[in-house]
């Protein structure tokens, strides 16, 4: 893993949380269990995938 998995997990978690709250504020979906728990979990997965896929945007050596 060439990326930063710890950074990915932390940022992914809070990214999912902020997106869930933002969707609630924009009246797109309520802050239910899926939003409050599911979105951060998906964010963590996204962070890990990005860290695993690193270096993203560069040609592999």
């Amino acid at each position: 893993m060439r990326g930063r998995p710890v950074l990915g997990v932390i940022c992914g978690f809070f990214f999912g949380l902020f997106v869930a709250v933002l969707l609630q504020q924009l009246s797109i979906r309520p802050l239910d269990s899926v939003g409050l728990i599911g979105f951060p979990v998906v964010g963590v997965v996204l962070g890990l995938v990005l860290a695993a896929a690193a270096p993203f945007g560069r040609s592999p050596r």
Partner: protein
């Protein structure tokens, strides 16, 4: 290899976005029913999805909500509550109890939206509201969606969430950039 990586990342991101647009599921059980009329629009227990919520206008001055409820059969020695669902936890915002010795099966009234507490007036967004009423004679439960109208991006919570999401997206980008 690089295409597969990109596909995986795009797949997870698409899942996140699609999930965000899914309407919530809600329901009503028991012999009770009710409705409320706000700004000339009548709402009832069918307003239980994110696409069709009960809309509380942003400008609440002079707006009155007329409500009515029925229980079908008399429910005596009753108690009930209304909660706002936040994640897996319902937060109770009101409760009641009584004997209903008059064996009433309906109630109605009006509520001036200007009387809503100030901290609620500053809120915007979509809320899942759950209510229950039970006693001797029956048990009722129901969930509706309530939309507190307003600009979600200019509310304090919305602005902080938007800024936080952008900041965390930048963090995710650097997580995928790789170590120097």
């Amino acid at each position: 290899m690089r295409g597969r990586r990109t596909g995986t990342v795009l797949g997870v991101t698409a899942l996140l976005v699609l999930w965000g647009s899914t309407a919530a599921f809600a329901s009503k059980t028991g012999p009770c029913d009710g409705s409320v009329t706000i700004d000339g629009v009548r709402y009832d227990s069918t307003n239980d999805t994110a696409d069709d919520p009960i809309v509380v206008p942003a400008d609440k001055g002079g707006v009155t909500a007329s409500w009515e409820g029925t229980t079908g059969t008399p429910i005596t020695n009753h108690s009930g509550s209304v909660s706002v669902v936040v994640g897996p936890i319902p937060i109770e915002i009101a409760s009641w109890a009584g004997t209903n010795s008059d064996m009433e099966v309906s109630a109605s009234g009006t509520y001036d939206l200007a009387d809503i507490p100030d901290f609620v007036k500053s809120l915007t967004g979509l809320y899942e509201v759950h209510a229950e009423h039970s006693g001797d004679g029956g048990t009722c439960e129901g969930t509706v969606m309530v939309k507190l109208d307003g600009n979600g991006l200019t509310s304090p919570v919305g602005a902080v969430s938007a800024a936080g999401a952008v900041l965390m997206a930048a963090g995710l980008f650097f997580a995928g950039r790789g170590r120097a």
